[in-house]
Every structure is written in C-alpha cells, then in structure tokens.
C-alpha cells in the first residue's frame, strides 16, 4: 500500500527496534530475566536491571486509548498529508503497552477512544540499509 505519510521520516533501525519495524508482527521487547515488557526499549530492564532482551509477539489487535487529528503544518513534507490522524493503541494482550500509529481507512471524524482496531503493515525500503521496513499501522477492526 502507499504509505499514509508518504515521504516523511522513517525509524532508524537499531538492535532494539529492528524486530518491531521489520517483522510484520507486533513484537515488543521482553526482559529475558524477569519477562517484563519494555516499550519503548531502554538499555536495561526497569524492573530487574537486566541487559538481555528478546521479542514477545502479541496479537495485532487493540483499542484506541487516545488520539489527535493534526491539521496544522509543521514541516513541508507533512503539509500535503493534512489532516492526518495519530492514535495511541492499547494492545488487547498487553493493555499497559501503548503503540503510536496512524488510523488508516477511516475519516478523522471517526476516531474515538475505545474504538477497536487491528494492525496492518506499510512496507517501505529502508533508505539507509536497503532492508524492508514494515511499519505497524491501524485500521478499524
């Protein structure tokens, strides 16, 4: 699909976010020592101090926890995309983990707290590595 914010900035891949942004699944970081989920990633586990993390795959379903509709240009590359909808999604399997994304296939007026959504992925070549990025996005479930 064409990217929702076509031409705008992409995540810089690193060890901590590679799986999240390339796997085509919702995969968040989990401490290998105490299984605490840590999103966004940090260098050490906030519960046990561990340094070792793995990925935990969860279902790509959730509900909108909060949102905004952006109507004011803050960068020339975003101006043509206005208005666009940013959503904060609480995952069904991990309600305390909140994922930021855009709401696709819905008008700005349709966004509301509590709306059930499911993940879809935008595939974009990474400009720096040539890898394929798969950006999680959200559509009404």
């Amino acid at each position: 699909m064409t990217r929702y914010l076509d031409g705008w900035m992409l995540p810089a891949l690193d060890e901590a976010n590679r799986e999240f942004f390339t796997s085509g699944k919702i995969v968040v970081r989990e401490c290998r020592g105490c299984q605490t989920i840590q999103h966004p990633p940090e260098d050490l586990c906030y519960r046990c101090g561990g340094y070792e993390f793995g990925g935990r795959e969860v279902a790509g379903t959730g509900t909108i926890y909060s949102h905004t509709v952006i109507r004011h240009p803050v960068h020339p590359k975003l101006s043509e995309r206005l208005p666009y909808t940013v959503v904060l999604v609480s995952l069904d399997e991990l309600p305390d983990v909140r994922i930021t994304g855009n709401l696709l296939e819905a008008a700005p007026e349709d966004v509301r707290v509590g709306l059930a959504v499911r993940a879809v992925w935008e595939e974009i070549p990474d400009p720096e590595t040539g890898d394929v990025l798969r950006l999680p996005q959200w559509v009404p479930a």
Binding site: H39, P40, Y65, R71, L78, V86, T100, P127, E128
Partner: protein
C-alpha cells in the same frame, strides 16, 4: 527554603513576536538581567551566581564577560525538555543560597525563537533533514507526531475522556490569559482580546487544540534576583520570600511514547504534596497562581494534580469562572501568561508571581499573602514555587 531566601528584583526585556526583536537573544538576556539587578537596587558586581534551564546558548561564560561579573561562585541548570524547569531553576537558587554557596543569584531565561529553532515546527531534538529518526522518537516521529502541541493533544484527549472535561474548560484557560493581557502594558496580546466565537472559529492545530489553546512563539528575556531574605529586606523593593519549592518525577514518569504510568499526567502528582507539606499551607490558602500554559489542556491537568480541584469536578469548577480575575476563586495567569503576555519559556510567570506579592500586578489580587508559580506541565520532572509576603 522556608523564607531563608527571597526575590529582591525582577526584570525583563521588551517582548516581541517571533522574529521581531532588533536585539540578539543574548542582548535580550543581558537587558533582562540588568533590569532585575537595578530593580533590586543592587550592582551587577553583587551577582555571584547564575541559574537557568534548557539554555546552552546564554551561558555563564558569556554572561559574566558581557556583564562584568567579577566573581561567580555558583552556576546551575535543571534537566528536562522544556518549561518544566522554570520553577526548579528558582529552587536551585534557593538551595544554593540556603546552603551558603552564593549570596545573590540571577535566575533567568532568554528565548528568541525568531533567531533559533521554532518549538512549533518539526526538527526539535533530531534532524528533520535526515530521512530517519533514531532512539525512542523512532516510535512516534515517523507517524507524524513531532511537536509539543501534537504530543500534548494526545495526552489531553485522554484526560478529557476520563474526566468529562470539554472544550468549554479549555476555552476558559485561553480566555483568562487574553483577558488579563488587556490590562498589562508589556503584553503582546494587549489590544487583541478573544471571544468564544473567536476561539471556536480559530483554526485547529492538533485537536482538541485550536490556535488559541497554544502558546505563541516569541522573542524576549525575563530574570529575577534571589538573595538571602535578610539582605533583600534592606534593598530597594524589599523581600518576596520563597516559602517552598518542589520538583517531582515518578517511576517511569515521562517515558517516551506515552508508556509512562500513570498516563496521562502533568507530572505534578507529588510536586503538590511536597510543596504544601514544606510550606505548611494548602491549596485553599492560595489566592492567585501562575500556571505555565504550553497548551490549555495540560494547565487543567496541572491545576488538578496540584490539589486545587479533583479532576472529575474540573469542568464544573472551571466553567463557573473560577480562574477569572478579579472574582474567581483562583485567578490565574494575571499578566496574560505565556498566551497573552509573552512566551519566554514560562519565566515571565515567575516575575508575575513575585509582582502579585509586591502588589504590582496589573490584575492584582488584593492582599495576596501567597503566590504560586507552576512550571511547564506534561514534561518531567515537574516543578513549582510558592512565594509569600515577608
């Protein structure tokens, strides 16, 4: 702490709309500091400390050289992404003087968004010239969430949802700032009051924020002089003692990507507790307050977290006119604040809090014995400072 130190002088440069200053940001900083020192009846050579926040440009090396400060004993800055440090900068000066490390400290902020980066455009904290963004912002910026207005909009929508707060309350915060600005000769928005119709018809920035919910981008500088309460009593304007100050950060508070717990918060949950405990007073004793307005929604969150009104009662309390001068229960932002006077990263609100104790405000709350300044909400750690009558 507890009346050991006091504000002896306040000063500011002229204020300008973004790009309107004919002086450089550094010249504006020096002008505000000179005026604060003059207001106190001191000489620049009396200054032995410099404190600010989020300011690497107007640093003590440049300032001491330009202002002829011959013996600096103390410098300091607070952490944090923005105006959350406006009150904790005063707290640092209070702590340093109380500890005896300095006697007369200038606390200031200079900000000319017309000369450097604009807070309201993309590219803050990363290069918008690159195609990729690293670190925690990789999880938000690629989705077009880039400015403070947008980030605070997400927090505010959730807060409004949880506590049945409506646009009516947001409007009140904007209205009182523009209304109070009409009486303040320094205010950039003097002569430009707003009605509810103006507010409703102003363009959306990031819902639920209209243009008038958002602080402007301005150029200017504000400064105060803090010294011992004993010394301040002998100076030109007398002492405005610092009764208490507080900072606050909870575990995982301010974690990126809205994954802090609890969410949303303005980061004042234990700032209020600590402040009232140290001061020996409670919110109901406070007749006037300055609440840093980055955006109207976070002000409501801050008012609630500081203990003035339970969040579920905010809508009723605020729309009853409680924040309006002169008859509201708690008039706020009596200079016009960040929205109506000028956005100098919130430090103008410190000057106004001092003026309320002196009886010098253009929207004076008569006989104010206590005067509160609450720094930028939504950025951690939060901070607040409470001034009192000597």
């Amino acid at each position: 702490m507890q009346r050991r130190t006091a504000v002896a002088g306040v000063g500011e440069s002229e204020f300008f709309k973004r790009g309107g200053a004919s002086e450089t940001e550094f010249q504006l900083a020096c002008k505000a500091i000179r005026r604060a020192v003059e207001d106190a009846g001191l000489k620049l050579s009396d200054v032995d400390g410099i404190v600010s926040y989020m300011d690497a440009r107007n640093n003590p090396v440049r300032l001491s050289a330009a202002l002829g400060l011959s013996r600096i004993e103390f410098t300091g800055q607070t952490f944090g992404g923005g105006g959350n440090g406006a009150a904790s900068a005063v707290m640092i000066a209070d702590a340093a003087i109380s500890a005896g490390y300095a006697e007369t400290i200038v606390v200031f902020r200079a900000l000319a968004q017309g000369q450097f980066g604009r807070f309201g455009q993309a590219g803050f904290g990363y290069s918008a010239g690159r195609n990729v963004v690293p670190g925690p912002q990789a999880f938000t910026v690629p989705y077009g969430l880039v400015t403070a207005a947008q980030i605070n909009a997400v927090q505010t929508v959730r807060f409004m949802h949880e506590h049945a707060v409506t646009q009516d309350s947001l409007f009140e915060v904007a209205f009182v700032a523009y209304d109070n600005a009409q009486r303040n000769p320094r205010a950039l928005r003097r002569g430009s009051p707003i009605t509810r119709e103006d507010y409703d018809e102003s363009r959306w920035i990031a819902e639920p924020f209209h243009l008038f919910d958002c602080c402007p981008e301005n150029d200017g500088a504000s400064a105060i002089v803090v010294t011992t309460v004993e010394r301040a009593r002998d100076l030109a304007k007398g002492a405005v003692p610092i009764l208490a100050a507080a900072q606050g950060l909870e575990h995982r508070g301010g974690v990126d990507g809205f994954n802090e717990a609890p969410f949303p918060t303005a980061h004042f949950r234990h700032v209020g507790e600590s402040l009232w405990s140290r001061a020996g007073v409670s919110p109901k004793d406070v007749p006037v307050a300055q609440f840093y307005e980055n955006f109207t929604g976070p002000v409501l969150m801050a008012i609630s977290e500081m203990g003035f009104c339970p969040p579920d009662d905010l809508e009723k309390w605020v729309t009853a006119g409680s924040l309006r001068w002169p008859n509201g229960e708690l008039p706020i932002n009596t200079s016009g604040g960040n929205l109506g006077e000028a956005y100098i990263h919130g430090f103008g609100l410190v000057n106004e809090a001092v003026r309320q104790i002196r009886g010098e405000s253009t929207s004076q709350v008569e006989g104010a014995e206590l005067s509160l300044m609450v720094a930028g909400p939504g950025y951690a750690p939060g901070s607040a400072v409470l001034f009192c009558r000597d």
